[in-house]
Structure formats: C-alpha cells, structure tokens
C-alpha cells in the first residue's frame, strides 16, 4: 500500500489505523466462523427440529451484532446517547411488527385448518 503520509495526519493516527484494520480482520474472522457454524449445523445435521432453529437464530443474532460492532462501528459507549436511542428504537419497532405479524397470521392459520 502507499507510503504517502498525509501532511495533516494527527499524532497517533497510525496507531488508530492499525487498530481499525485489526477490527475489520477480527470482524471477518468472527463472521466467517459464525457463518460456517450455521451452515455446519444444517449440512452435518448436528441438530434437528426446534433446537436447530433456535441455534441458527442465535448464531444469526450474534453475527448481526458482530457486523454492527466491527463493520458498522456501532459503539455503545462512545456514541451520542440520543442518536443511538433513535437507532436502537428500531429494534423495538422491528420486534413489535415481526412478532405481531407472525403471531396474528399464525393464529389465523391455525383456526382455518379443517
């Protein structure tokens, strides 16, 4: 990679750069592991039925958190509280909408069975 050093680079920025690169690498490794794990559960028939689904869901959740942390750099400590709240509020809305929809449609479905 280039050696050009921007004139206005701040002291400590190189450290910072190395740290950030490391963070992407860690993220990639974690994500690859989790993905591989999830596919392994199905390919190798490690689990079945509800247990499989539960584990897959958990792995997906962890991987989403990994992506948010290492790729999107969501940082619970250093970000503005209010901004973060608005973003995290989405999670609440998603939960309400998805679980509500699934519940309602499933309930209706069951009651339509002959």
């Amino acid at each position: 990679m280039s050696n050009r050093v921007p004139a206005d680079i701040m002291p400590g920025a190189y450290e910072e750069e190395r740290r950030e690169r490391l963070s992407y690498v860690i993220g990639l490794i974690l994500a690859l592991t989790l993905t591989a794990g999830a596919f392994a559960v199905v390919w190798l028939d490690l689990l079945s039925g509800g247990a499989a689904l539960a584990v897959l869901g958990l792995l997906a959740f962890i991987q989403a958190v990994v992506h948010l942390r290492f790729f999107l750099h969501i940082d619970l400590e250093r970000s503005h509280r209010d901004d973060l709240m608005l973003i995290l509020f989405t999670v609440l809305i998603l939960l309400i909408m998805v679980s509500g929809t699934v519940w309602i449609l499933y309930d209706q479905h069951v009651r339509m069975m002959p």
Binding site: E16, R21, G27, L28, V42
Partner: protein, 210 residues
C-alpha cells in the same frame, strides 16, 4: 477534538479530519435514519416470508426442494468479503486519502458485489428452469422472490452508486462531499450484509432444516 469523540454513531472521520467529521454529523445521522426505515421495510418482508413459507406453499414446491445451500454459502462469502474490502477502502480514504488504493479496494468490493448479484440471478434461473419455481407459482415463492429480490436490488443500486463514487473520486479527489458520500455508501453496504445474515439464516437454512 480528541480522537475518540464521536458526533454520530458508526463509521466516522473523528481523528483524521475534524472538519469533515463535524460536517458528517448531520448527514450521517440522517443516513442512519434512512437505513433504519429501510430495515423496517425488510422486517416486514421477512415477516411476510415467515408466514408465507409455511402457509403459502399451496401446490408448489416447498423450500427444501428448491434451495441450493451451496450457492447460498458462496453468496454469503462473496458478500462478506466485499464488506471487508469496503472496510479497507474506507480506511485508505480516512488515513491516507490515497486515490489509487481507495479505487483498488472499491474495485475489489465491486467485483465481489457483481459476482454476488450474478450468482443470485443464476439461482433464480435454476429455480425457474429446473424446478419450475417462479414467483407466480405460489405465495411462498412470491414472498421468496420479493425478499431476496429486494435485497439484490439494493445491492445492485449500491453497485451503481459505487461506480458513480469511483468517478467522483477521480474527478473531485477527496473533498468533503465525496468523503461523506463514501461513508454513507459504506454504511449502506455493510447494512445489506446484515440483512443478508437474516436471509441466509431464516430463508435458506431454516428452509432446509425444517
């Protein structure tokens, strides 16, 4: 401004470009909100898919019959690596402002992205020809195509955007506007990766496992 002070969540310029960082506060926050709104759209599509994949199969094939897990796995890898590559494009911009390396990383990202979309189209083609599984066959397939198709459409528009950004980098260099746009594109790209986690888990793996 200290290195660690953050004016907005997520990827940022704190530390290397204080002025750009300050300018980023509003636009990046705005873009986050857009992403959240988009995420709600995906959530609704997921919920619909969740219902349809069980209740809407009708006379058509079920998930386990039409999904190709190997392809899904490869697609996952492509998207993941392209996200990673974009991360490095962004670091090259943030710390070095070096056009050549940013463009090189963007090219890697783009190629991986194109490969991803290509593979998905191939999936669709195989499903449609080998299994006669087109969206018109059943509610389940309608929901499947809409969910994955919306994601693919997002990735494709990300690719177009990326091409435009490459031109802008070549034309304008790294002025403030270009930087802020590239950061937003990065958020967009990484977010699509997160959505894809949902797709490979809840669509492909769940479909085959249950």
């Amino acid at each position: 401004m200290s290195l660690s002070e953050r004016l907005h969540p997520g990827i940022n310029l704190a530390g290397t470009d204080p002025e750009g960082h300050e300018a980023a506060e509003e636009v990046l926050f705005g873009f986050w909100i857009f992403l959240m709104s988009d995420l709600v759209l995906f959530a609704v599509l997921f919920a619909t898919y969740a219902a349809m994949s069980v209740q809407g199969i009708a006379e058509g094939p079920g998930p386990a019959e039409v999904f190709d897990l190997t392809a899904a796995f490869l697609e996952t890898l492509l998207l993941l690596l392209s996200s990673f590559a974009f991360g490095f494009a962004l670091l090259a911009m943030k710390y070095r402002e070096n056009r050549r390396s940013v463009l090189a990383w963007l090219l890697v990202t783009g190629i991986l992205g194109v490969a991803f979309v290509g593979m998905e189209l191939h999936d669709y083609y195989v499903m449609a020809t080998a299994h006669e599984a087109t969206p018109q066959v059943s509610g389940f397939l309608s929901a499947y195509y809409l969910l994955t198709g919306t994601h693919a459409l997002h990735v494709s528009s990300g690719l177009v955007w990326m091409a435009i950004m490459a031109i802008q980098i070549a034309v304008f260099g790294f002025d403030k506007r270009v930087k802020l746009r590239l950061m937003r594109l990065a958020l967009f790209w990484h977010m699509l990766d997160v959505v894809w986690i949902g797709i490979f888990t809840f669509v492909y793996l769940f479909g085959v496992a249950s």
